[in-house]
């Protein structure tokens, strides 16, 4: 943080973050919010495992268990994993392409506040009558019948959150297309930027059907529509199709940026360029493309028929090919390189076998006949936790260590980091490996308890012990963070000493304008090129000049707040007891007020012209003289 920022009081500090449009600060916001939701999701996981520790347990009731499993999945996927990935994308991608911010800084901020208000709305359900309880997928027949407003918190909360994600997706796409530094062609972009690009494309095309599906569910539950109501001519399979047309690309939205983070880590800590760059790019695009053609493998047992099942089975297996290409390329990157086993590198090396295990069980499930046996069993639970935890969560933990200095200017403690790593890895495998066998032995998923003497007791107990190990690992990570923040030992621009890409060429954290002069990119791994020629800094592409910066604004917060308020109105206007739409005038008033705040704020934004401000080049020269890094 600049010396100016440290002189702020608490109020000014908070206001700065409430109104920021700086991608680096928005990254902090996503990181903290995502981490908080990760802890909440983790507590929900602990409660699941404690309940299932022994047969016929009564730690939680059946209804509460359903709410917990629903919220665990929903929170982890939508409110923890995605925002944490967005944190890294926001912090790093503009730096990697030599840009000074994203294409639409205001919309970037709006995306964050929409996500946060959506997530808060969803979690308020715990205190306002009960959380949603129809699974993170909220299938139509069950969710239509769910009493209370839990499901409405789900539909409205995720709808608001989803708008934010969609906006951020478009933002990253435009940034990467239009704002690359001179010399950075598409085929010179780092892999993390490429995976962000493909994942953002997936976001634009996958979150839209989700929004439609959520609208349909909202209309059916709160406004009397008949999309999924068989009595009215509706069809519940439509919901499943819409949900999984979103749901399958969603997992690639999660895993592709994770792959991107690992690509950066593998090349940095092998001191060697990424092996097979072109094939990595091609594989990423192929995975994104195929990701839209396999969704019905979540629906093999719904009766689509053998031809449909066969088509989707083959397509699903096909995705393993580009993924395998990536695995081999990572291994070949390490081969012959000078490898250092820092904490991020440990996570990366552990990711390879863990993710591959998850991947191969995926190919097993892709065989539709076998899936008839495995569907809705713990085998599936084991599979997706292996790919999500073994893929995405390991990447998030690795990225936390790897990008911490660039985001916060300090370094997390390596010793504590390695302790967290080992505890988490062992706990993860303990919890989920045994679940493959539980599934093969016939234990169904989403059950709040099981009967004794089926041979499931030991496995469930071991699974729970693993969960406790993971919890301890996370606690140690939190301690690591606290110790690092308190000690506040500042680091330089390239603390890992082997940075290859542009973000490592500027200060940690970068000045608010990122690059004093837009750099000239001379090839792949541009900072490495300069280093190999003995230069300390990047070659500039332009002379020193005035820099145009965007203004901060409180409007994104207001727009999001308005939708949050309106959601309450939309939910409570429906009288559940008497099946009466628009029954509650106070709720209708709240709905209108909320929308008025949102649209009023949007009009306010349109009415005043915001052209930003300029940093004059004299101020930039002063910064140089004071010894700040360029």
């Amino acid at each position: 943080m600049s010396s100016y920022a440290q002189k702020q009081g608490v109020g000014a500090f908070l206001w700065d973050y409430l109104t920021t449009v700086d991608h680096k600060k928005i990254a902090h916001l996503y990181f903290i919010a995502g981490a908080l939701f990760f802890v909440i999701g983790g507590l929900e996981a602990m409660m699941i495992r404690i309940q299932l520790m022994e047969p016929n347990n009564d730690f939680v009731s059946a209804g509460l268990f359903n709410e917990i499993i629903t919220m665990h999945g929903t929170t982890m996927i939508f409110l923890a994993a995605t925002p944490l990935l967005f944190a890294f994308m926001n912090a790093i991608v503009p730096l990697q392409i030599g840009a000074r911010d994203v294409a639409f800084p205001f919309v970037n901020s709006l995306g964050f506040w929409l996500f946060l208000f959506g997530g808060i709305f969803l979690n308020l359900s715990w205190f306002l009558g009960g959380a949603p309880d129809a699974g993170w997928t909220s299938y139509a027949s069950l969710s239509l019948e769910s009493p209370g407003h839990g499901i409405d918190f789900y539909t409205l909360g995720l709808q608001i959150s989803g708008f934010g994600t969609l906006m951020s997706g478009i933002n990253f796409l435009v940034t990467i297309i239009n704002m690359r530094a001179p010399g950075m062609t598409f085929m010179r972009m780092p892999l993390f930027t490429w995976t962000t690009f493909v994942a953002s494309t997936l976001i634009v095309f996958a979150f839209t059907p989700l929004a439609v599906g959520l609208f349909f569910l909202t209309f059916d539950r709160l406004f009397g529509a008949n999309f999924f109501d068989v009595a009215g001519g509706g069809n519940t399979i439509i919901y499943e199709h819409i949900f999984w047309i979103f749901g399958h690309p969603e997992v690639y939205i999660l895993v592709l940026p994770a792959f991107g983070i690992f690509s950066e880590i593998f090349s940095t800590f092998s001191r060697k360029r990424l092996f097979g760059y072109s094939s990595m790019v091609f594989a990423t695009v192929l995975i994104g493309f195929f990701g839209f053609m396999v969704w019905a493998h979540h629906m093999f047992t719904t009766g689509l028929g053998p031809i449909a099942n066969a088509i989707f089975a083959v397509a699903t297996m096909a995705i393993a090919v580009p993924t395998g290409i990536k695995i081999f390329n990572w291994l070949f990157t390490m081969w012959g390189g000078s490898v250092t086993f820092t904490t991020p590198m440990l996570y990366a090396v552990a990711f390879i076998p863990s993710f591959v295990m998850g991947g191969v069980t995926g190919v097993m499930q892709a065989a539709a006949p076998l899936d008839y046996q495995l569907h809705d069993s713990y085998f599936i639970v084991a599979h997706f936790h292996y790919v999500i935890v073994g893929g995405v969560v390991l990447a998030l933990l690795a990225g936390t260590h790897f990008y911490w200095p660039k985001m916060f200017g300090t370094m997390l403690n390596e010793k504590l980091g390695k302790v967290t790593f080992w505890l988490f890895l062992i706990g993860f495998h303990l919890t989920f490996f045994i679940q493959h066998f539980l599934g093969l032995m016939g234990m169904p998923r989403r059950v709040f308890t099981f009967l004794p003497n089926q041979g499931w007791e030991a496995a469930n107990l071991i699974s729970t012990i693993g969960a406790f190990l993971m919890a301890v690992a996370v606690i140690i990570l939190v301690i690591n963070v606290i110790v690092t923040v308190v000690k506040n030992e500042r680091v330089g621009n390239d603390p890992w000493e082997d940075g290859r890409t542009l973000e490592w060429a500027i200060a940690s954290p970068p000045p608010y304008y990122n690059f004093k002069q837009t750099p000239l990119v001379r090839g792949l791994d541009p900072y490495w090129i300069e280093k190999m020629e003995g230069k300390k800094n990047l070659t500039p592409a332009e002379p020193l000049g005035d820099i145009h910066m965007p203004n901060s604004s409180f409007t994104p917060f207001m727009i999001s707040l308005g939708l949050f308020i309106a959601a309450f109105g939309a939910m409570y206007q429906y009288d559940m007891k008497n099946d009466d739409v628009f029954a509650n005038p106070a709720a209708i008033a709240v709905f209108i007020i909320g929308l008025a705040i949102t649209f009023g704020s949007m009009m306010f934004r349109s009415a005043k012209d915001d052209h930003g401000y300029h940093i004059h080049k004299e101020e930039l020269i002063d910064d140089l003289d004071k010894g700040g890094k360029a």
């Binding site: 634009v204 095309f205 439509i238 047309i245 839209f292 053609m293 019905a296 689509l304 028929g305 449909a308």
Partner: protein, 110 residues
């Protein structure tokens, strides 16, 4: 037809640009006339009782697709230079759209 030349105060340039713009506008009006014509044919095809629905339905869908192509390429300038990225994203959207519609018309049973 891309109109991407440099700024200049040369009066000949503005005459040239005006002429080019007028030419393009003429093409737009022709496109519009074509669209009205296609729409009319579609309505007539449906109104006329002599055709079987096996002919009419694919026929009007084809007319719609042609009309949309005209809208995209002419009214929305997708034929101009600098529209490569927009074209990629629009076609990707159309790809996902087609898959979704086909799925809903084949693997939703009753």
């Amino acid at each position: 037809m891309s109109n991407e030349h440099l700024n200049s105060v040369n009066p000949n340039d503005i005459k040239y640009r005006r002429k080019k713009n007028a030419e393009e506008m003429k093409h737009q009006v022709i496109t519009f006339a074509l669209m009205i014509f296609l729409t009319l044919i579609a309505f007539v095809a449906v109104g006329y009782d002599g055709f079987s629905s096996w002919f009419t339905v694919p026929f009007i869908l084809l007319l719609a697709a042609i009309q949309v192509a005209y809208q995209l390429y002419y009214f929305m300038h997708m034929s101009h230079k600098g529209h490569e990225m927009p074209a990629i994203f629009m076609f990707s959207g159309v790809f996902v759209a087609i898959i979704t519609v086909i799925a809903f018309m084949t693997i939703i049973w009753w």
